[in-house]
């Protein structure tokens, strides 16, 4: 919060985050359906990915509306039923596309950034 980042940098990073974090969510679901709460905890545990746990929920809603994920309820051994999230075929496809584009984008940005430095 109190890091000495110029406003412009913070804006860019937050825009970058906005566009990429949803694919990180899709990637975490690649192995199968997951309990929403655990998903949020894992995502928030990754450094620099999200600003707070709460902001992940609107993102999950968006993914559901775009039909990239579906949700269902499952009984839990302890406590009330849990909401699970699962990738749809469209979600898997979107993730594969993004992963390819991202690799290209990342390599290009890295190449240019390191050239400027050297």
């Amino acid at each position: 919060m109190h890091r000495m980042e110029p406003v412009e940098t913070r804006k860019s990073v937050s825009q970058l985050r906005r566009g990429t974090v949803e694919y990180c969510v899709l990637a975490l679901l690649r192995g199968g359906a997951r309990y929403g709460f655990e998903l949020v905890r894992e995502l928030s545990g990754v450094d620099g990915l999200v600003t707070s746990e709460g902001t992940i929920y609107p993102l999950l809603t968006r993914l559901r509306k775009e039909q990239l994920v579906t949700t269902f309820w499952r009984e839990s051994e302890s406590g009330p039923p849990r909401r699970y999230y699962e990738l749809t075929d469209a979600g898997r496809e979107a993730l594969d596309d993004f992963a390819k584009e991202w690799a290209r984008f990342r390599d290009s940005v890295d190449a240019i950034l390191s050239k400027e430095e050297g």
């Binding site: 949020v40 746990e53 902001t55 929920y57 609107p58 406590g79």
Partner: protein, 177 residues
């Protein structure tokens, strides 16, 4: 007493969230609040603690309610195309002959919900309604003995002339939802 205090913390947090989300659609707001409430309950169960410190930590990790709502806000492009009372009024007014067409077209032009292309097509469709009216007027003034069925047909076309425009504009709105 402690339970009441921690409940109070959670309630305060959720009311802050509700207040911050006032501009969201009602169903979306309810859904968001339900999800956050589920999260808080799950987190406290997970940590097997319900003390004040535990609750404060859970809320801290969730982040400020305002930030959560900011993440839920619709993208700017969706914001530029809102459907509201103006659009509904425009479509209803377009169905009313004459005065309705004029006011309807004016409202369509003011609205930000339609693109320029959609506005042009909608306006053109509304103006088409003038054709049966003019035909009727010309036919009436030139001959006294036209068939009444032809006149009735023109009259009906004239009365429902605004419908195609209203329906077209309505469909364009729904396409974006």
């Amino acid at each position: 007493m402690t339970t009441m205090q921690t409940d109070r913390l959670v309630d305060d947090y959720l009311s802050r969230l509700e207040a911050a989300a006032a501009h969201l659609q009602r169903s979306r707001r309810a859904e968001l609040i339900a999800e956050i409430r589920e999260h808080i309950e799950a987190a406290l169960r997970e940590e097997d603690a319900a003390g004040e410190v535990a609750v404060r930590n859970v809320l801290e990790r969730l982040g400020p309610p305002e930030e959560i709502v900011e993440a839920a806000e619709p993208a700017p492009e969706a914001e530029q195309r809102p459907t509201g009372k103006l659009e509904v009024a425009a479509m209803v007014t377009l169905v009313v002959p004459f005065i309705g067409w004029l006011f309807g077209i004016a409202m369509v032009l003011i609205s930000k919900a339609w693109s320029n292309r959609e506005k042009t097509i909608g306006t053109a469709l509304a103006l088409l309604a003038v054709v049966p009216f003019l035909t009727l007027a010309i036919v009436d003034s030139y001959s006294e003995s036209t068939s009444s069925t032809f006149e009735t047909l023109l009259f009906v076309l004239w009365v429902i002339g605004g419908l195609p425009s209203a329906v077209y504009l309505g469909l364009r709105l729904r396409r974006d939802r």
